[in-house]
Each structure stands twice: as C-alpha cells, then as structure tokens.
C-alpha cells in the first residue's frame, strides 16, 4: 500500500506513480497510428496502468475496458491526456456503479475529439509551432546553435505542461470544466488572442524571410532603371507579400497543395531562367 500522500484514487489505489506512467505513455499515442483505429492502440497503452488497478480482480471487466479504449480515437496529441484523465474517472465510476452505462465513456471520447483537436491544432500547430520555429530560424540563419535549442524548448514547455496538467485536470473535474469554458466563451477569447500573436508573427516572417527580388533593369535614354528600387519605394517587401497572398488565395479556393507546389516550381523556374526573378 502506497503512502497516503502518493495516492490519487484511494478506492482503487491509483498512485502518483501510475499517473506519471500514463503521462509518459501518452507521448506514444501516435506510435501505432493506422487508418482503421487511428490512435486506438496507443490510447489503450497509455490507459493500461490505471485500467489494471481499477479492474485488478475482474478479468472480464478488464477485457471489456481494453476493448473500449482500443476503439478508434483520433486527436491532436497534446490535449489527449486531458481526455485520458476524464475516462479514468469514468472507468472508476463504471467499476463502482453497476448501473453505469459504459457506452458513455466512448461517447465522451468521440464528443471531445473534434473540439479538442480544433483547439489543439490552433495552439500546437498554429501558434506554438510557428513561434518556436520562427525564433529557431532567426538564430539558425546565422549558424547559431541556439536555434534548435530554442525551438525545442519553446515548443515543448507548453507541450509537456498541457499533457501533465491536462491529465490531472481531466481526472479531477474534466467534464465540469468543459461545460464552464464553453458557456462562458472564455475559450474563444483565449484562442482569438493566441491568434493575434500568430497573425503578427506571420506578417513579420513574410517581411523578414521571404526573399523574392527582381534583377530586372532597363536602360531608357541613357539612364538605368532598376525595377526593384521602384518596388521598394511603393512598399518594401512588396513581392514577398504579393506572392504569399496569391498562394493564400489559391488555398482559400481549395486548390490542392500539391498542385500549388507544382505551379510554383513551373512559374518560378521559368521566371528564374528568363531573369525576371
């Protein structure tokens, strides 16, 4: 029996050590990703330390629980431990209360996939990754080894924190918390404010790092006219901005990424060969 202070669930003897184990296992969620169950097996792998404790004297119950958690599941990985926390709490309820409808466990998982993935993608792929990579590039460009270090730190501090606190929060009061956030509208506001940082960073990166210039020059009645000098007088970095907005427009029109890349290769190559770019 573990010390009382180490216990997270008294009735099922789930300890802090089990939670740490689930936390680390959650990093392998995509380890066996496939098109049928997606992250199902990885989810089961992470849940196993808790399931084994909850159903330690109930083999059939354990099997049923394993089948529940190997079911298809797909979510941005960082917020997934939050869902694990919620489902651990629900499994405990299911074990305690014979009348508990176990299908609600997977209903909750399915219900959370969409919204949490949406929030997770915005933050982890849209915001944290951009900022981390942007700062990383700004150092790496000069050959400074701080680049990769900053990149990993800036991304993984929120990554680790979201997993650890998400798991604990989900277990303690997950379902309540979700209701509160949704009804107060705080989550939308927070996401919008994160978007402000992301949007400003993208604007900044286009101006700093997209380096499209034209070498075109004409000689008209003896004086040389360099196109790029005129462009710079209108707006510095005009070509990078126009190129990005044009491609963005194509994306908005749902033109496929592969087609756009192919288009860039053709147009860019021709412009480069004839000396426009």
């Amino acid at each position: 029996m573990a010390k009382n202070t180490d216990l997270i669930s008294v009735e099922n003897n789930i300890t802090k050590k089990d939670f740490r184990s689930i936390f680390w296992r959650s990093f392998t969620l995509l380890g066996s990703f496939n098109y049928e169950r997606m992250e199902g097996l990885g989810y089961l792998y992470a849940m196993l330390p808790a399931l084994k404790k909850i159903y330690k004297d109930d083999e059939e119950g354990l099997k049923a629980a394993c089948h529940r958690h190997i079911a298809a599941f797909n979510m941005t990985v960082a917020p997934a431990p939050f869902v694990m926390g919620i489902t651990i709490a629900m499994e405990e309820l299911a074990k305690k209360d014979e009348d508990f409808d176990v299908t609600t466990i997977n209903s909750i998982k399915v219900a959370l996939m969409g919204p949490l993935s949406g929030i997770g993608d915005t933050f982890f792929w849209g915001i944290f990754r951009i900022i981390a990579c942007a700062i990383g590039v700004s150092f790496a460009q000069d050959g400074n080894a701080l680049g990769p270090i900053m990149l990993l730190l800036l991304f993984n501090i929120p990554n680790f924190a979201t997993r650890w606190f998400g798991l604990k929060l989900g277990y303690k009061n997950g379902s309540q918390l979700l209701n509160d956030l949704e009804s107060s509208g705080k989550m939308e506001l927070f996401t919008f404010c994160a978007g402000i940082v992301g949007a400003a960073a993208i604007g900044c990166m286009i101006a700093s790092w997209v380096d499209i210039t034209s070498p075109l020059a004409f000689t008209i009645s003896g004086s040389e006219i360099v196109l790029q000098e005129y462009l710079d007088q209108i707006v510095p970095k005009l070509l990078p901005l126009l190129a990005t907005l044009t491609i963005y427009g194509c994306l908005r029109k749902k033109i496929g990424v592969m087609k756009i890349i192919f288009g860039i290769c053709v147009v860019g190559f021709i412009c480069g060969v004839v000396g426009i770019l």
């Binding site: 959650s26 990093f27 392998t28 995509l30 380890g31 066996s32 496939n34 098109y35 199902g40 990885g42 196993l48 099997k63 394993c66 190997i70 990985v77 960082a78 993608d121 792929w125 849209g126 915001i127 990754r129 951009i130 990579c133 700062i135 990383g136 590039v137 700004s138 080894a145 680049g147 990769p148 990149l151 990554n159 509208g185 506001l189 919008f192 978007g195 402000i196 940082v197 949007a199 400003a200 960073a201 604007g203 900044c204 990166m205 286009i206 101006a207 997209v210 499209i212 707006v235 994306l251 908005r252 990424v257 592969m258 890349i261 290769c265 860019g268 190559f269 021709i270 480069g272 060969v273």
Partner: protein, 260 residues
C-alpha cells in the same frame, strides 16, 4: 560519406518519424533540428543550421493536419541538408532532393499505416485471450517497422547514392541553377500561406498588417515583434474578458472597437 555517417543520418531520419509516434510530436522533425544534427554528423554545424533555416522557411506551413500532411518534412529535410553539405552547394541543391523525397516518403508512409490497420485485428484477438502484453507488443512492433523503413531507405540513399547525387548537383547548368534559385525564393511564401490558411480569420487581419509593417519598415527582430504581439494580445484579453458575454456578443465587440 563514411559508413558511420550514413548510419547516423539514417538514424536522424528515423528520429524525425518516431518523434511523432513515440516522443509526443516533440518537433525533432523540423528542418532546423535535422539540419543541426546532420551538420554535426558531416562536420559542418554552421552550414547545417543555415540550410536547416532555409528549408524550415519553405516548410513553415507544413503541418501534420489536413492537406499539408502530404509532405514528410522530416526525411526530406534530413536528406536535403545532407546533400547540400556533401556537395558544398546552397539551399537550391537541398530543395532539388528535399522536395521529391518529402513527397515520396509521405506516400510510403501511407502504405505503412495501411499495413498497421491489419495488425489491429490481431490486437483485438490478444485482448480476448487475456494476453494484454501481446496486444501491447503490437504497439511496439509498429514502432519497430517505422524505424526500419525510415532508417533503411535513408541509409541506402545516402551510402549508395553518393556518386549519383554528386553528379546530378554538380552537373546542373547555369540557367537551371537560376531557375532553382527562383523556386527556392518563392517556396517560403507557400509555407506562410499555409500558415495563414490555418489561423487567419477576418478579425486578425489588422494584427497581420502590424506584424508585416514593423518588419518591413524597421530593423526589429522576430523576437521583438513576437513580444509586441504578446503584449497586444494580453491587452485585448484584459479588455474583453471584463465584458464577457456570449460568443456572439464578443464578435460584436470586435467590430465596435475597430469603428471607434
């Protein structure tokens, strides 16, 4: 390229893939990281970092979600950086290899994930037999196959493709080089357009303009602009959380504030 170097570069490529599956998307796949690692292996860290930065900008928008999951930037970045350092050429040599590799590897990945689907039925059966260890071992097995595919292919390309790569890169005529440089200069715009596609909404346009103008007209660095943006976001959060209503009311407030 020595045997050891080829083995280590193969390991870097495998790391970029296992990062997603086994290290919680800790971002080892980003070209800045792979450029640094490949640079260390090939003895030119500075060049590795610079090539990494160039490829990073090109793929800034390549995420694991939606349509952009069609690019394997991990293996593409690793091989691209290795080629650029090996041949002594710049970023344009890197993209000649990085781009096709990123497309091909993503296609192979699709096949791998399809194969893993078949293993799930086996895991189901193991659970029924009460053999939980057996079910979990399939999780590990998938990781092993992933490692094998990425390590194996990268190693073969690096170790046996050495001469072919050199003659392709060094045999490029001047005009083709110009064309490739132009492509290399436009591709970063693609990356940022993809990013805009993820997070842009109408109310964020002013902040996009602020970021662009500061960087285009001043010498402020990326770190400074990010800090300014965080400060603005903070103020907006404080202003608006005071007057929290329904999400619809929040939207309305945005419009009001811009009209003032």
């Amino acid at each position: 390229m020595t045997l050891i170097q080829a083995v280590l570069i193969g390991c870097v490529a495998a790391l970029t893939q296992l990062e997603g599956g086994w290290l919680g998307e800790a971002k080892f796949r980003e070209p800045v990281i792979t450029g640094f690692l490949v640079g260390m292996i090939l003895g030119d860290v500075e060049k590795g970092l610079m090539i990494g930065a160039a490829l990073q900008m090109m793929w800034m928008g390549a995420t694991g979600i939606g349509p952009t999951a069609q690019l394997d930037i991990g293996t593409g970045g690793t091989i691209g950086a290795a080629v650029a350092i090996m041949t002594g050429k710049g970023a344009e040599a890197a993209i000649v290899f990085a781009l096709p590799v990123a497309v091909i590897m993503q296609f192979l990945n699709t096949l791998l994930l399809t194969a893993f689907s078949g293993l799930m039925v086996v895991a189901d059966r193991k659970i029924d037999e009460g053999n939980l260890k057996g079910a979990i071992s399939i999780h590990y097995l998938c990781g092993f196959f992933t490692f094998l595919l990425y390590f194996g292919l990268t190693f073969i390309v690096m170790y046996f493709g050495n001469d072919a790569i050199n003659s392709i890169v060094n045999g490029l005529p001047e005009w083709a080089n110009n064309g490739l440089q132009a492509i290399a200069s436009i591709l970063p715009a693609m990356g940022f357009a993809l990013l805009m596609n993820i997070i842009m909404e109408r109310d964020l346009i002013p902040f996009f303009v602020i970021g662009f103008v500061i960087a285009a007209y001043t010498e402020l660095t990326m770190v400074a602009v990010t800090a300014i943006a965080v400060a603005i976001a903070w103020v907006v959060f404080l202003l608006r959380s005071g007057q929290q209503k329904s999400p619809a009311a929040v939207q309305q407030n945005v419009v009001d504030e811009w009209e003032d």
